[in-house]
Amino acid sequence: MSTYYAGLLADIGILVLGALSVYIILVTNQLSLGNAGFMAIGSYVASFLTAEQHWAVTPALIVAALTACVIGVIVGFPALRLKGIYLAIATLGFGEMVRSFFLVFTPMGGSGGYRGMPHVSLGYIWIWAAGILLLVTLLERSRLWLEMRAVHDDERAAGLVGINTTLTKVGAFGFGAAVAAIAGGLFAHHYIYIEPGNFDFQRSIDFVLAVILGGSTVGAGALVGAALLVLLPEWLRFLADWRLAAFGVMLILVLLTRPQGILDRPLLALLRLRRNRAA
């Protein structure tokens, strides 16, 4: 494999994690447009631990994920009072707040950026990406996920049957934040340089777009969406200045024909059926 495609694969792995962080929160019917903020927290915390405290990358990522998880839970509580577009705007504000914080936080470089982290390989990124994707896929078959989906479908009815909707929604925020933080930590240690501009609103939109494009009802959709978002603009380079316009048109066409995203449960069931028949 060329180093170019290795670089793109690394980007896909990081974007898969970012998309999964949105998907986990979205399962409870909450749309977060601020996951770049959690990514930034993970990125800076993990970088501080490896560059300044000389920790190994793996424990640094775990601590970064736990830190973001706690902040996610704190953000999740006030978010309980908001729904739909209002929640989306509030989380967007959170993301911008975090980015602005790191812009003026000079101990970690401020707008001048931060470097000094060790480099992580493509394989290491994909161990995390595949591991968390597998975890989410397994969770999708669990009772916990059914409860999360019940909150998504009808929060009041879910409460009436004894599901702790507050815990479910706040927990989803914490879990999603932790996954975004791991994406951030891997991003920092892959590119060995970070600055607040890396975690802007566009990054959050990319996460949401990967989920919507790949499929917002199954975890594996994040993988499909991330791969398309990274690879399509590269494959369209022959169109030169028109490539981003063509990319936009293709996105619209996909969403017109598959509003639920490319992957959904019926398609997954069909693929499984074919595989079983072939076997």
Binding site: S2, T3, Y4, A6, G7, L8, D11, L103, V104, G110, S111, G112, G113, R115, H119, Y191, I192, Y193, E195, P196, G197, N198, E234, R237, D241, R243, L244
Partner: protein, 400 residues
């Protein structure tokens, strides 16, 4: 007769195929990373037009040592991660001998380590954030001068010309170079020159893309400074200048190289602007005049830029960078063959490291131990729609 015809056809086909193969083998590939989309698209698109012009000039003149020049230009959208992937593609898939770009310091921070890893020369046309090339020796270079060196020449001129005893700072907090110029580099040079920075402890800031800076300019006005420091690229500085004009804050302005543009002069023609440059479109040298005269029509025709956009300093820099690579290929025995790729790249690196006396737009160019250009620069004053050279200096301190 039929046998002769058949034989002739075989010979002709063989000759054509041979010629085609020879042409296919004799291609020298160079790469470029420019932001043709995103916030610096104007610079990226004019860079693209510049490179296409240079490629045509070289090939029309017979190529490089008989080989055709091909410049593969990739857009990074001013996104650091994209720039790093572009460099991987140029080095790994396109087998470029060297790369011009990326443009921004943020992209260089991420791309230069990849250049070192892949052992290919990468030279930025615009990055001037201190220490970026120095941290990525020996494959990273910048055809720019450290802003600290430039400030040491521009501030004394500013003081002498306008009798400035105090200044107030406004800067784009989202941009690393602008922040470094306004909050780190300039205050130190002002202190060395006995100029008081009235808001040194709390400089006024705004963010890239802000359209309303009226509150910030009101704050500056309340300080009643003798001059204003604008740490921003020209497109953001225009917003500040228009607001200064609207509020009647007609004080002289000083800044770094990102201010240099013809467009900024139209924003507030009555406000004098002092900035350093290694090239500006109205320079009166035969080489610069020929470059502008050839490139300017192409900026409209091929890049689709508005009529008031002139070739920028970054166009001149990327032209110089690729010209250096071409000179290296001509003089260092570079073959351009796939089997010699590694050796050819090393020869270009050695050429750049030891370069002295390359004829650029401002005079002769070389590179210092940090990988930054040693070249002549000008302190220019912009007023009433035109830049004029007021001070000439050399980044090495002597003469260039």
């Amino acid at each position: 007769m039929r046998t002769h015809l058949f034989g002739g056809a075989i010979v002709a086909v063989t000759l054509i195929a041979g010629l085609h193969m020879a042409q296919a083998q004799n291609i020298i590939t160079l790469g470029a990373i420019v932001p043709s989309s995103g916030p610096f698209a104007e610079w990226g698109r004019s860079n693209t037009a510049t490179l296409e012009m240079l490629e045509k000039q070289i090939n029309d003149a017979g190529g490089i040592n008989g080989a055709k020049l091909k410049i593969v230009i990739l857009d990074d959208g001013a996104k650091p991660a994209q720039a790093a992937n572009d460099l991987r593609k140029l080095a790994g898939d396109d087998h470029a001998l060297a790369v011009a770009g990326p443009l921004t310091s943020s992209a260089c921070e991420v791309t230069f380590p990849v250049a070192n890893q892949m052992q290919i020369v990468s030279t930025s046309q615009a990055s001037s954030k201190p220490g970026v090339a120095k941290a990525n020796r020996p494959w990273a270079f910048r055809d720019t001068v450290d802003e600290g060196i430039l400030a040491r020449a521009s501030v004394p001129y500013f003081k002498k010309t306008f009798g400035a005893k105090s200044v107030a700072i406004i800067y784009d907090a989202k941009d690393a170079v602008s922040t470094a110029i306004a909050t780190k580099i300039m205050p130190k040079v002002f202190a060395d020159n006995g100029i008081e920075v009235l808001n040194a402890s709390a400089p006024v800031s705004f963010n890239t893309g802000d359209l309303d800076v009226s509150a910030q300019v009101t704050k500056l006005k309340s300080l009643n400074p003798d001059g204003v420091v604008i740490g921003a690229d020209y497109s953001q500085a225009i917003t500040v200048l228009r607001e200064m004009k609207r509020q009647g804050l007609d004080k002289p302005v000083i800044g770094g190289t990102p201010l240099i543009s013809s467009a900024i002069l139209a924003a507030a023609p009555e406000i004098p602007i002092i900035a350093p440059a290694t090239f500006y479109a109205t320079m009166k040298t035969p080489k610069a005049e020929k470059f502008v005269a050839t490139l300017q029509p192409l900026l409209r025709k091929t890049a689709g830029l508005p009529p008031d956009i002139e070739p920028s300093m970054y166009d001149a820099n990327i032209y110089e960078i690729v010209s250096m690579y071409i000179d290296a290929i001509k003089k260092s025995g570079i073959t351009g063959k796939a089997s010699d790729l590694e050796a050819d790249r090393t020869k270009i690196r050695d050429y750049m490291t030891n370069l002295k006396g390359f004829e650029g737009f401002s005079g002769s160019i070389g590179f210092n131990a940090d990988g930054d250009a040693s070249k002549a620069f000008f302190i220019v004053q912009g007023q009433k729609g035109a830049w004029a050279t007021k001070v000439t200096g050399c980044s090495t301190g002597g003469s260039c």
